[in-house]
Amino acid sequence: MIPKELGKPLTLPCQSSRIRFGPEGVLFAAGHDGSVLRWDVTGKEPKPLPTVKLHNGWATALAFHPKKPLAISADSHGALIAWDRTADTPTPVWSQPKAHDGWLRATVVHDDRVVSLGRDGFVRGWNLDDGKPLRELSLGVDIFSLAVAPDGKSFVVGDLFGNIHVVEWDKWKVLSKYEVKELHLLDRIQDVGGVRALAFKPDGRSLFVAGSVPKSGGFVQGFPLMVELEWPSGKRLTQWKGAADNEGFIHDLLWLDEGFLAGVTSGQPGQGRLFVWKPGDAKPLFESTKLPNCHSLARHGKLLAHSATNANSSGNGKVKGKDGDYPANSSPIQLWTMA
Amino acid sequence: MIRIYLVAVLLLIGARLSAAESVCESIDRIVAAKAKADGVPMSAKADDAEFLRRVWLDLAGTIPPAEVARKFLADQSPDKQTKLIEGLLAAPTYPTTMANRFHIVLMERLGDHASWSQYLQTSFAANKPWNTLVKEILRADSKSGAAFFLSKRLENYGQQAVEYSALTRDVGRLFLGVNLQCAECHDHLTVNDYKQQHFQGLHAFFRNLALGAGPLPTVAEKPTTDKIKFASVFTLEEALTGPALPGGKMIDIPTFPKGQEFAEPPDRKTNNPGVPKFSTLAVASEELPTAKNRAFVRNGVNRLWFLLLGRGLVHPLDMHHSGNLASHPELLDLLEREFVAHQFDIKWLFREILLSETYQRSSLLPAGAKAPPANAFAVALEKRLSAEQLFAAITAATGTKPADAAKAKFLKAFANQPREPEEDVEVSLKAALFLSHDATVLEMLQAKPGNLIERLGKLTDNAAFAEELYLAVLTRKPSADELATVSKILTKPNQIRETAARKLAWALIASHEFGVNH
């Protein structure tokens, strides 16, 4: 299960912390300039497609319907927008500008419903076709991650405090709560951590919960941690914890059919990796640290993509670029094949 | 340039000195000469009482009992002071006191261990030379207890990483007199002499250490195979360094075939961390505490001087650099030379200082003069008393049997936080409140069989009362005014003698005169 680099990294005009593949093999990146960038990677060379400019703040999340040509995207100002992903210059099919009060962190599409959650502590369900509000659940705390169980009967929400809330799909009754307390720390007055990524094993037997074991807030030092919970009992099975406290968070996870998990970490500037791990192993069987500070990854068939950050991204004071300007950072995306 | 000139002059003077003048005389000559040149008047010699108390606190870690004080003050022999010094240097209280004083300096309240205090005790009982002491501390042999200096600094708590930077800094500060704290990430911003290379080179000796397993303080060393790569956060230029003392030559790192780095392989079963063939710790212990390492010699002399005089010839003690010269460069150079010539003999250096007029000067200003700069050594400086000295002095004064629980409370009230050196007399609200209200202290001032308050309570003669009080607490006789004040209190209507004793004793114990070594 060793990915092989495919070509040079794609360059982006901005940073991105969420990339996803659409069902047609188009790679989408939610940009921190509010745009959604696209590439058609099905051909020999990745072909950039027109950028979609629909959002304010950071574009933060992406979801797609497997059959209908809809893309759902979200932003940090709280908007949720549905648009035709096959169009060159899509206009919104529907839009909920105040889907959440502020940062909308995650969204999924399942069964003709869109689910979103955000910093406002709400989980909301919307009709896929017209965006009408269907369900609402108030958890009262900052929430980060969302995943639907493979049997479609429930979904899970990960919060700031390391809790995983299990919610029944139809009426949204809260069924249970699992705790991975190591993923949170109250350091002085800062609550650090959170369940940053969730991924179910496709056979529905376990749920992978990931984030960081924070050592301190502020700077943020922490060890990446991923815990396997038996599903639906919530019992702890395997786990993997990073070796050094500068390795930070596991930001994104996905399951590779062949029995492995792929994930990305980002810690102190310069730290971070793409890794592939078999649950139960002591260490990942593959790691790539070539591109530092990795925030997201996505998969389409045998293709894998992960987004990272350019080198030398940090520095106190006014760190100037080669031309004497003050450049922003960006998120290169590396493609891989898993032959 | 000036350095070379000085060295030339000193070599000349040195040649003449060793024939004619003792080190103790040299100290006085040089200090007096500078004071004269600067127009600084010098204090008179300390009187018997001041001298007695000072020497006791310095060498025995406590104040003398009233009876001893009484006898000494009455003694007419001309050489009683020299005899006192020799007696205290030879007494069993000397190693115990020095073990504690050096423990405070070297461990800075990071912690303690029975084998470490035992190590210090036996070392000072045997008058172990300073270079041997530092060598053993750096070699960190777990059987000796000396390993504690390093092993304590290799501990980590919960998720905290081991603070290798702090360890490196401490070695620099305590054994070389340089604080390289702000030279870790770049050359020091304000001290030109302190370079990032100095920090990183020193760090290279210690970064492969780890806390070893076992009940005794143990240091484990992993093999050092590579140089350290470092870069200034300002220039971003990368550099490499192997182990190197500040300003010293870089030690080559030998390469061994993989699997053959250990002379003694690690053994989990016996908790043996193994001994690498190339041990940076062994090299550090051989190279750092040597006569040819000027910084080591200078720092040693300076810190020993400080323990008796209350201020280093270079001050602060860990800021030796060309922008912070010694107050008496000729004296420092001379002491360095002589210290080396006497094989780093600590007791010898102490004796020379103790016998000098400079040490025996009074803290009373010369009549009509204003306070001279501290670094003139023209007037004796007040020295901080450690929590341990205060505890010993207060229990001695009050006639209380020292108990561990009480000692712990004193440590909490008077000792600094870890890594805050206890060099200066500091304002302490905590201490003032402790002395005022703590139950343990108040307990010591309750009359108990044989203690001070009980004794005082029985003395019906006011003059005898005052003398006993002042001798027991302040190691001197009361002045006429003080006698008058005591009498006034004692003769107040309805005054219970015991209550008066309590108030008077507390006032003296809480007074500044008691709380410092002057």
């Binding site: 007055i189 102190q268 730290q271 | 500091e426 108040l442 004040t485 809480a510």
Partner: protein, 423 residues
């Protein structure tokens, strides 16, 4: 250890090191206020809120949503039409009509160790002496008043005790009495077995002993020792101040039960009791990594009690007497690093203030659209010190320190007050 970033916590110059580098220190400097009469007119007090580590101006006072460096948060309107702050300060937004914000602050140092000292000392011209922190300086110029408490109280997490290093050349008496976690010092309460009369008498005897000892000797250490006992005596009379459990529940709710909330509430008590200078420190603001989640957690914890404080002070008429300052050692970089954090940024940041002598509801100065530069007249910390002294009625032309016979300016002599924020 990341070679690009110094570890914030232990990269601090100690007073001793500073002395070693800059030469000998003159202790016991006297000051000569030339306007003793003016001092008595109106009370002069300061609340100094120190957010240690560097609060981001882009997530607080100077938001720039939808720009390259603007980050994910929105800007919200405030009680001052046309003025916006970050969505992370919703309560403070409602108090903006009482605040003045300077958005054009540009200072010299991007390190914590030197930066903290330089900001709190006003970064005056180097005279080879160690200048006092603002708290010690104000304690010196204004004195303790009739509060019966030390003039400079510092409420902070962690350890308490008397911190004399902040006094610089003024000498230990002008240090800060630090209340660790807002708790009163240990052993503050006089035990029942000791009567007040006995305590008084024995302290009189102690003072007598000290006077006779120090006659003919150096005085500094004895004075410092007496000062500690005097402070102990004064504090004992003010025990009820420390007990914030006696306050109405609505206060604890509005300020919050987290450290900064409790400490600001205690600060209000201290100010009500007349303490001249109260500093409240919050640590942990140095969000080089995961900054936006960090700010999402931290900023509201400042916002809530700070807004409550402003409201309470206004309600009680105390804003006439008390100068309020909220500040860090610098702001944070517009550029967002790979760990989604912001780094140190003294180039263009903001400081907020309110109260005595300050014009309410104004914003002075601005940064450019991206926040990468000050786009109006830049103001260094020296300018702010001039401003604050003026607000307190202390004239830098007339008041100079006298340190061992050398007159020294109270703030950077080439700088001037920011008149736009003065009432």
């Amino acid at each position: 250890m990341n070679p690009n970033l110094c570890t914030p916590q232990d990269h601090r110059l100690s007073r001793r090191q500073w002395l070693g580098a800059t030469g000998a220190m003159a202790l016991g400097g006297l000051s000569l206020p030339a306007f003793a009469e003016e001092l008595k007119k109106k009370r002069k007090q300061v609340l100094f809120v120190w957010l240690d580590g560097g609060m981001s101006q882009l997530e607080s006072w100077d938001p720039k949503p939808n720009t390259t460096f603007g980050g994910p948060f929105r800007a919200i309107s405030t009680s001052v039409p046309g003025t916006h702050v970050s969505e992370l300060l919703p309560q403070t937004a409602k108090q903006m009509h009482r605040l003045a914000v300077v958005r054009s602050v540009s200072t010299q140092d991007n390190s914590h160790s030197a930066g903290v000292d330089r900001i709190q000392r006003g970064d005056p011209k180097n005279r080879g002496v160690v200048y006092p922190y603002l708290g010690s300086a104000v304690a010196n110029w204004v004195g303790a008043g009739d509060s019966g408490l030390p003039p400079y109280v510092w409420i902070k997490p962690g350890n308490g005790g008397f911190i004399d290093r902040e006094a610089g050349f003024l000498g230990p008496k002008f240090g800060a009495l630090a209340l660790g976690d807002g708790k009163p010092p240990e052993n503050l309460i006089r035990p029942k077995e000791l009567s007040m009369a006995d305590d008084l008498e024995r302290n009189e005897l102690r003072k007598l002993a000290d006077a006779s000892y120090s006659a003919g000797r150096r005085k500094e250490n004895t004075e410092a020792n007496s000062f500690a006992f005097d402070m102990a005596e004064q504090l004992q009379k003010k025990l009820e101040l420390f007990d914030i459990s006696k306050l109405p529940a609505k206060d604890t709710q509005r300020y919050g039960t987290h450290d900064l909330g409790r400490h600001l509430l205690l600060a209000r008590r201290m100010l009500e009791a007349g303490v001249t200078f109260v500093k409240v420190t919050s640590y942990g603001w140095d969000t080089h990594g995961d900054h936006f989640n960090g700010a999402a957690s931290l900023h509201p914890k400042f916002d809530k009690p700070f807004a409550a404080m402003i409201e309470d002070l206004a309600e009680r008429g105390m804003l006439d007497d008390i100068l309020v300052i909220a500040i860090s050692e610098f702001g944070r970089t517009p550029r967002i690093n790979g760990h989604l954090g912001r780094d140190h940024w003294p180039e263009a940041w903001s400081v907020a203030m309110a109260g005595r002598g300050i014009k309410p509801g104004v914003v002075e100065g601005k940064t450019n659209a991206l926040g990468t530069e000050v786009a109006s007249e830049p103001h260094d910390i020296g300018h702010l010190f001039h401003t604050w002294y003026k607000a307190l009625g202390i004239d830098p032309k007339k008041s100079k320190y006298q340190n061992a016979g050398q007159p020294l300016p109270i703030a950077h002599e080439d700088m001037h007050a920011v008149k736009e924020v003065l009432a």
